[in-house]
């Protein structure tokens, strides 16, 4: 039984990573109705910016804030320059665009900062949390950051005019335009916010997985799995999904023989497919009804 609780705790700790990423995925899905395959790379690039700022002597929280601002502006710029012209294009063209973005960011990060692994500092320290060997203070801090982010997003979408406008623009663009919402800019704002959340995820994840251009691939797949499990329409579901995926991954690794580190990605694949087939809307998402 102790093994079980320990594994669940460790699962929650890793789950926080996936929850952060899933939150960014859901954010962009809400804004543009597409899954951004370059999300992980955008987060990776932001994390490198933060690392570079710290190398130049900026203190952690200063670099953190500057990176947030940079990512927000960067997200908006990408949308305005590259994806706004594609808004009416077929889905295929959009997916191709995401893949192009993925390749560009990954390759240029490798070019600027090369592919060696770098240490990324944590603001929370890495001593054991409350005397427990399983969760370090960094992981506890990461869980805390994820939950704070979730609460902030909830208040933003629920209680501000801007949040309401963004929701309206995402779900019924035509009607939203009729009541005077600038839907095009709402989408850009969604990109900016998703990029900023992604950068937070990146900066939280980097101390755990170490900083390098390919650090996000596995995390992104798990973030997708978490978002799909929680329901792509629900930020709350995404966070819960993230924790569940983390717990599931750890338990499967412990109790099912033959599943070790080497099967991490196939587990995520199996999870994505199972959820999409059994309950396509996810645990907390709303099913979409199509009308001809």
């Amino acid at each position: 039984m102790e093994l079980f609780t320990n594994q669940v705790l460790a699962g929650i700790a890793t789950g926080a990573i996936y929850a952060c990423m899933a939150l960014a995925v859901v954010m962009i899905y809400q804004a543009i109705d597409h899954l951004n395959f370059a999300q992980g790379e955008m987060a990776m690039f932001s994390t490198f910016i933060a690392w570079q700022l710290m190398q130049w002597g900026v203190p952690y929280w200063g670099a953190f804030l500057l990176t947030l601002v940079f990512s927000f502006c960067g997200g908006i710029a990408i949308e305005r320059l590259l994806f706004k012209p594609l808004a009416k294009a077929p889905i295929l063209t959009n997916v191709a665009g995401f893949i192009a973005l993925y390749a560009i960011i990954n390759s240029s990060a490798g070019l600027i900062w090369d592919f060696t692994i770098k240490q990324f500092p944590t603001p929370f320290g890495s001593s054991p949390f409350l005397g427990s060997q399983l969760i370090s203070t960094h992981q506890a801090g990461m869980i805390g950051v994820t939950l704070v982010l979730l609460v902030l997003l909830f208040f933003f979408f629920r209680f501000t005019r801007m949040g309401l406008a963004m929701r309206a623009a995402a779900s019924l663009p035509e009607s939203a335009r009729l009541v005077g919402i600038n839907t095009s800019w709402m989408i850009a704002l969604g990109w900016g916010m998703a990029a900023a959340i992604g950068s937070i995820a990146g900066m939280m994840i980097a101390p755990v997985v170490f900083l390098e251009p390919n650090m996000m691939l596995g995390v992104l797949i798990y973030g997708f799995a978490a978002a799909v499990l929680g329901g792509l329409t629900s930020p709350f579901g995404a966070v819960i999904g993230g924790f569940l995926v983390g717990i599931f991954e750890n338990l499967a690794g412990t109790y099912i023989p033959g599943i070790g580190n080497e099967l991490k990605l196939p587990i995520a694949l199996a999870l994505i497919i199972t959820v999409l087939v059994v309950k396509p809307a996810g645990l907390f998402g709303r099913p979409i009804v199509k009308r001809v």
Binding site: P90, V228, T233
Partner: protein, 338 residues
């Protein structure tokens, strides 16, 4: 948040390509074929090897084109089917000692089955969800191939070495040249098969599903059957390409079949023009030669060059090589009138 989505206002998955615009006329096809037969006689062995790879990737891109351009389904997971084909062929040749030519149809059938089965859960998914599921498949495949359980068969991380076949009947040809003509024969057969498939009843069903799924089912098309069938056919052809690739490269290893390969094939399809079958060879040339050029400019830059070119294609020639070919055709027509 609304729970009702209007299908009419929703963006199309893939732009509808008219059936006639999917292939080339007889004359042009024969000229292309003659070129493909004659060129290897005048170039070095290494170039012949590259031409073989060109044909092999063209097959893989063609397979994706049938799936996406034909039936309107996405796949970012073609590398997985390619890997299964390559491994099937390598294992049969090295462990069971079966002749290389015989392994091709076996690889095709196994991949058809695999694709058909993967098409079952994929049925429930459309658009981005399908892209996501296949993306996960492609990233998971190298790890599955490295798995300890299959190590005896797959060679684990080390991979398997494949022997290159000699020209049969004592033909005076180098191994590379024989393999080229062998690949060419297989490619032509598969191309003819694909063209006829798209002209057939099944092909029309694919296109009806692509253009409007609900309308297609209202016309009595078994949507589930034809969607999985498209997946199966596409995976089967990709498997044959993978098997040919294994024979040509003489080596299979898990890390040759990563998501990068899947992305390259997808890119090849977009560059060649979605739904235009002859474009596959243009797309294939693009994904084989452009990285070499990019690496020549600066190492590690190929990804960025790929991405930038892809954006250029999306913005400037959204129909890829098909659009270029159509413009050229119109110009020639004008010149003739004058």
């Amino acid at each position: 948040m609304s729970t009702v989505q209007e299908v009419v206002t929703e963006a199309a998955v893939v732009e509808a390509v008219p059936k006639k615009a999917m292939t080339l006329g007889y004359g042009t096809s024969l000229v292309m074929l003659a070129l493909l037969i004659l060129v290897p006689l005048f170039v070095k062995n290494f170039v012949i090897f590259q031409l073989t790879m060109l044909l092999i990737y063209a097959l893989a891109v063609l397979a994706l084109n049938i799936l996406t351009g034909g039936s309107g389904q996405f796949s970012l997971g073609q590398s997985a089917f390619y890997a299964v084909g390559a491994y099937t062929s390598a294992i049969l040749m090295e462990h069971a000692g079966i002749n290389y030519a015989v392994t091709l149809p076996i690889a095709g059938v196994i991949c058809f089955g695999f694709g058909f089965l993967f098409g079952q859960p994929a049925l429930r998914l459309s658009g981005v969800y399908l892209a996501l599921a296949t993306f996960a498949l492609a990233t998971a495949m190298p790890q599955l191939l490295k798995l300890g359980y299959f190590e005896y068969w797959t060679g684990g991380v080390q991979g398997l070495v494949v022997t290159k076949p000699d020209a049969p009947f004592g033909l005076p040809m180098s191994q590379d040249m024989w393999l080229y003509y062998f690949t060419l024969a297989v490619s032509v057969a598969i191309y003819v098969f694909s063209v006829n498939l798209l002209k057939s009843r099944s092909g029309r069903a694919f296109m009806a599903i692509r253009d409007n799924e609900i309308a297609a089912s209202a016309m009595g098309i078994d949507v589930a059957l034809y969607k999985t069938l498209a997946f199966g056919v596409s995976a089967g052809i990709t498997g044959v390409a993978g098997a040919l690739g294994a024979i040509a490269v003489q080596f299979v290893a898990p890390d040759s079949y990563t998501i990068t390969l899947a992305i390259s094939l997808f890119l090849g399809m977009v560059v060649g023009g979605v739904g235009w079958l002859p474009g596959s060879i243009v797309g294939s040339a693009f994904i084989i030669f452009v990285p070499n050029i990019a690496e020549g400019i600066s190492k590690g830059l190929s990804g960025a060059v790929f991405g930038v070119l892809l954006f250029l294609v999306i913005f400037l020639v959204p129909h890829g090589a098909r659009q270029v070919a159509m413009v050229a055709q119109q110009l020639i027509g004008k010149l003739r009138k004058n």
